[in-house]
């Protein structure tokens, strides 16, 4: 195979990039060794220096790699597979970040980037812990670099997937035999579902959350390795709070994105990828609480170690599930596989085994307090709470890991030679929402109660004897007030079963108890309220989940289902709305009012009006769901919802269906050719009866009134103005079937009256008969003077004068042109007057003319010569037939094209969910602030 010299490729960035990745790999390895040496030789400062230098070079390499990839993407170097896959010529620059982390290599780099940032903070702040923590961080970073290394072992075996691969190395295609292939290819572009601001902010926040889980893990492993089992518990705390806050925020953003942009109508679907981002967060919270207990009482150190290690392992497990493609049949988030499964599994096992090794080998040295935890102590309840959190995490992981179970079953089967193991496969629960809610409800109940009570207790049950009455008073008050609040909520929230009543009471108790703490115990000191905010926010979030979830109501429900008229199959969540026809649904009059095309997006206007018994408007709002088309404006790419937000509720609207012809241009042809057209020849003024309708051709136009026509230069346009009237004569509508000749191609624009199902179309032969080639015409001369009237055949022609303003559609004026138009009025047999304006002009000394054409009478007129002395105008007239006939095809079975299928959902109280979760996260950040202020 001869070597092809490719034109236009920029190979330097790729080569530089490869080199930088290898540098990052080697320096990470060096950092591990150097930092570790510092740990074992604490007095030797040179190891620390070496470690920091290695880490510094490593950080620089990672940043440089990221910079190179951005450079490649912004410059649209499609010779690189990564650029080709995620960028296109029309991609707005604001989405370049989204394009960067759309791919797996990019998201790995984003993860590594955050590690670089956090690592620098560790170097600057961790003091005595720096060498140990950096050793572990460098190890993790080494594994991550290997994911993008793209190094081949022995032909088949690949470690990592490099972002600098050339497109022609990743796929076989005949185009690569062409040395000039670069000029022929276009970028793939960013998935339209990801072209929004969420894709710009959610991944970096979420990945910062994931990356920040690494640091507490590194602290834990350092404590274990160096057998310093208590000292690390203090410096790690700010990291844990930061991580829990940011990761929580990232997860919440994912929910907000789903709610705002996806069609499913909600913020959480218990989708496997969602679940696996939540689980590490839950376990991290368990670790946080274990950490509190360990610091204040010396208890639960081993448990805290286990929780921190698990939280990190779960982040790695979560990335494995997401990237390996193993969730292929179960998740809406399924990304493409990269062939990295074995590396990801290796990643998990490497750190799982390290964790187990160190836990086991250091077990004896971990201090264990022999005193029993008292039930009236804070640590007892925090421990129970951590257990409940672990429960919750285990349950979620269990259900979400079914595809892993299936894979293990397959591996077992192939090892044992048992053949096809698919009968042993399990699938996810049929209704994941119901499945998870059933169990997590009880976890939520317990957590609300525990977090409310726990805060009222003290570590080590200090001074219990004197404190007990006060404790009982506060718990008692909170219970009573909590019941009151629950009762008030129950007036608003419909609770379908007793379990939800229990949850509501528990959540109300949580809210009241934490507010009580803030008033009576924290006494207005913000920094003492961190836990109360976090716990109270959580409880409020639960109320928000209940009201927006349980009371969620589909406004666009099928009426017949409500009226119980039709059985079984007539249930439905979507409404069929005809333009300008209000439809009554669930107390609202809903109207699809209009739609406008802005760029690639068509914005629809849907109006909601609520009227009370006296007929007054009580509520009135409009939403604007939209449809995004693909680049060529031929097909719908995706639909975006739009939500009307009130303080106490949201109305979510989404277009779930459009006429097939509007979904895809290809359907235009398909459907049109399936209709039953009948051909009619009509002269202007003629009427025909079609079915129960009367069709009348008002006139023939060189141009059109069709609302979908956009004029382009040099278009030749022919249309008919057709009036369609119903048999009773009560209603008539006009349609404008049109033919367009543009750049040598013929286009047909049909037009229809939706309510009559009548569609009109012009036959292509209309052009031949009504717009014949000039050489087929026999011109006859007619000499006429200004103001004169002359007869030609059955027409009376009057030359009214001349006009220096030229309006001939085909005329392009050039410098030096002298041009005039003659204005000729023509009166035919029917006494209708038409005007013709033939054009005459002199260019470069030569006389030229452009004819005028009056389609209604089929008259062609040229002004060929003007005799200025005699003031005579030499006209030439031609006519193919006396009465031009327009070949008009009419179909009576045209499907409507003026509707939308709309889904509208009411979410009461959803702001309680957002508020509650934000308050919860704020609590964590207040805790972080409190600890940072101290240091």
């Amino acid at each position: 195979m001869q070597d092809i010299q490719y034109i236009g490729e920029h190979l330097l960035p790729g080569r530089l990039g490869h080199f930088l990745i290898l540098t990052a790999f080697v320096t990470a390895l060096l950092a591990i060794l150097a930092f570790r040496k510092k740990v074992t030789h604490p007095d030797d400062a040179s190891w620390l220096r070496l470690g920091r230098i290695a880490w510094g070079i490593h950080s620089f390499s990672i940043l440089a790699v990221i910079g190179l990839i951005f450079y490649i993407m912004v410059s649209q170097m499609y010779e690189y597979q990564y650029a080709w896959d995620h960028v296109s010529a029309d991609l707005p620059m604001k989405y370049i970040f989204s394009a960067f982390w759309e791919g797996q290599e990019g998201s790995f780099l984003l993860w590594m980037f955050w590690h670089v940032v956090l690592g620098s903070v560790v170097v600057l702040t961790a003091k005595r812990w720096e060498p140990g923590v950096m050793t572990w961080l460098s190890m993790i970073q080494l594994v991550l670099v290997s994911m993008i290394a793209g190094v081949y072992f022995a032909d088949d075996f690949r470690m990592g997937s490099s972002p600098f691969l050339l497109l022609r190395d990743t796929m076989q295609a005949p185009i690569f035999n062409n040395p000039n292939y670069l000029s022929l290819i276009e970028g793939n572009g960013l998935n339209p579902l990801l072209q929004n601001y969420w894709m710009t902010i959610h991944p970096p926040t979420l990945f910062l959350g994931f990356a920040s889980v690494t640091i507490p893990f590194c602290f834990a492993m350092t404590g274990l390795w160096e057998k310093e089992h208590t000292a690390w518990l203090k410096p790690v705390m700010p990291w844990t709070l930061f991580s829990a806050g940011i990761l929580g925020l990232g997860i919440l953003m994912g929910g907000a994105w789903a709610y705002e942009a996806l069609s499913f109508g909600g913020y959480w679907a218990w989708d496997p990828v969602e679940n696996m981002s939540l689980v590490p967060w839950i376990v991290l919270l368990a670790a946080l609480h274990g950490n509190f207990i360990a610091r204040h009482t010396g208890l639960s150190i081993r448990t805290t170690y286990i929780f921190y290690i698990l939280s990190f392992l779960l982040v790695v497990y979560s990335t494995f599930l997401t990237r390996s493609g193993i969730l292929g049949e179960e998740s809406v988030h399924a990304f493409t596989e990269m062939g990295l499964e074995w590396q990801l599994v290796g990643f998990i096992f490497l750190f799982l085994l390290s964790g187990i090794y160190f836990l086991v080998s250091r077990n004896k040295s971990i201090p264990v307090v022999l005193k029993e935890e008292q039930i009236q102590s804070r640590e007892f309840w925090m421990f129970v709470g951590s257990m409940v959190l672990m429960f919750s995490a285990i349950l979620i992981t269990f259900s979400t890991s079914i595809p892993v179970w299936n894979k293990l079953v397959d591996v077992y089967g192939s090892l044992m030679g048992k053949g096809d193991m698919t009968p042993y496969h399990k699938a996810m629960p049929l209704d994941p929402i119901d499945h998870h809610n059933r169990f997590q409800l009880w976890n939520a109940v317990l957590l609300s109660i525990i977090s409310g009570v726990g805060l009222l207790l003290r570590f080590g049950a200090m001074g219990w004897a004197e404190y007990k009455p006060r404790f009982l008073k506060h718990v008692g008050t909170s219970v009573v007030l909590g019941l009151g609040v629950a009762y008030l909520f129950s007036l608003w929230i419909e609770l379908p079963s007793w379990q939800y009543i229990v949850l509501l009471i528990a959540a109300s108790f949580g809210i009241v108890s934490n507010i009580n703490y803030m008033i009576n115990f924290a006494k207005g000191r913000l920094t003492s309220m961190a836990a109360a905010f976090a716990h109270g926010g959580f409880a409020l979030m639960l109320v928000g989940i209940m009201v927006s979830g349980l009371n969620k109501r589909t406004l666009s429900e099928n009426r017949f289902a409500q009226e119980g008229l039709a059985e079984g199959l007539d249930v439905g969540n979507n409404a069929f709305l005809i333009k300008d026809l209000p439809m009554y649904m669930n107390n609202y009059w809903v109207t699809y009012k209009s739609d406008t095309l802005e760029g690639l997006t068509r914005k629809y206007e849907v109006e909601f009006v609520k009227v009370n018994e006296s007929g007054d408007t009580v509520e009135h709002f409009t939403t604007h769901p939209n449809i995004l088309y693909d680049r060529e404006l031929t097909k719908v790419a995706t639909a975006n919802p739009n939500t009307k937000r009130y303080l106490d509720r949201d109305v979510f609207t989404f277009i779930s269906g459009l006429p097939p012809e509007q979904q895809d241009r290809a359907n235009l042809e398909k459907i049109d050719s399936s209709l039953d057209y009948k051909l009619h020849f009509l002269a202007p003024g003629m009427t025909r009866k079609v079915g129960s309708y009367n069709i009348r051709l008002d006139s023939i136009l060189l141009g059109t009134n069709h609302r979908e026509y956009d004029r382009e230069e040099d278009d030749l346009v022919l249309s008919g103005i057709v009036t369609v009237t119903d048999s009773a004569g009560t209603r008539s509508e006009k349609i404008y079937p049109t033919l367009i000749v543009r750049k040598g191609l013929l286009y047909s624009l049909t037009d229809q009256v939706n309510d009559f199902n009548i569609r009109g179309r012009l036959k292509a032969s209309a052009l031949d008969s009504l717009f014949p080639m000039d050489d087929k015409l026999a011109y006859e001369p007619l000499v006429i003077k200004s103001g004169e009237t002359k007869t030609w055949n059955d027409l009376a022609l009057t030359l009214q004068g001349i006009d220096k303003t030229i309006d001939h559609p085909n005329y392009r004026s050039m410098e030096g042109d002298i041009a005039i138009q003659a204005v000729v009025s023509i009166k035919g047999k029917d006494n209708k007057t038409h005007i013709a304006r033939p054009l005459y002009f002199i260019r470069d000394g030569s006389p030229l003319n452009m004819k005028a054409y009056v389609p209604d009478i089929g008259l062609h007129m040229k002004l060929e010569r003007i005799d200025p002395e005699k003031e005579e105008f030499h006209l030439y007239l031609a006519r193919l037939s006396d009465t031009p006939l327009l070949p008009l095809e009419i179909a009576q079975d045209a499907p409507r094209n003026d509707y939308i299928v709309l889904e509208a959902i009411l979410f009461p109280g959803i702001n309680l969910f957002w508020a509650g979760s934000l308050i919860m996260l704020m609590g964590m950040f207040i805790g972080l602030y409190k600890r940072l202020r101290k240091t």
């Binding site: 998935n191 129970v384 699938a427 049929l430 007539d570 069929f576």
Partner: protein, 127 residues
């Protein structure tokens, strides 16, 4: 304390057992018909067979034919609008049960290749 831990573990085991009962299996049409229960049928859209969706008549009724993993072709009724680009789907997972001779799906999950890589769309109806 140990008693508490044991109690919690027992509760945990009970919950896990209960959770595992919710697990479903992938079935074929004939298996679902025989069992009479709700299950998931994995297969592909039968592109040579007609699809029925008329928004004007009923925006919440969509009918199509699906071939399961044993090769049996059967009609599926979904009480939701026709999903975007359904014709392009490479794989369909229909969750539902038989009502008489009709397979009624409460939700379908389809895998659409397109140029946007393996992306999936989950369509649910009246949940």
């Amino acid at each position: 304390m140990p008693i508490l831990i044991l109690a919690l573990m027992a509760a945990g085991v009970i919950m896990l057992i209960s959770a595992s009962k919710d697990m479903s299996t992938y079935s074929t049409f004939s298996q679902v018909k025989r069992s009479g229960e709700t299950s998931k049928v994995v297969g592909v859209l039968a592109k040579d067979k007609p699809m029925y969706y008329n928004a004007e008549e009923n925006p919440n009724l969509f009918r199509f034919y699906m071939t399961d993993q044993q090769g049996e072709v059967h009609e599926v009724t979904l009480q939701a609008p026709k999903p975007q680009d359904f014709e392009l789907s490479e794989q369909v997972v229909a969750t539902g049960s038989f009502v008489g001779d009709e397979f009624v799906a409460s939700s379908i999950l389809m895998k659409c290749p397109s140029k946007y890589k393996n992306e999936e769309v989950l369509v649910r109806s009246n949940m």
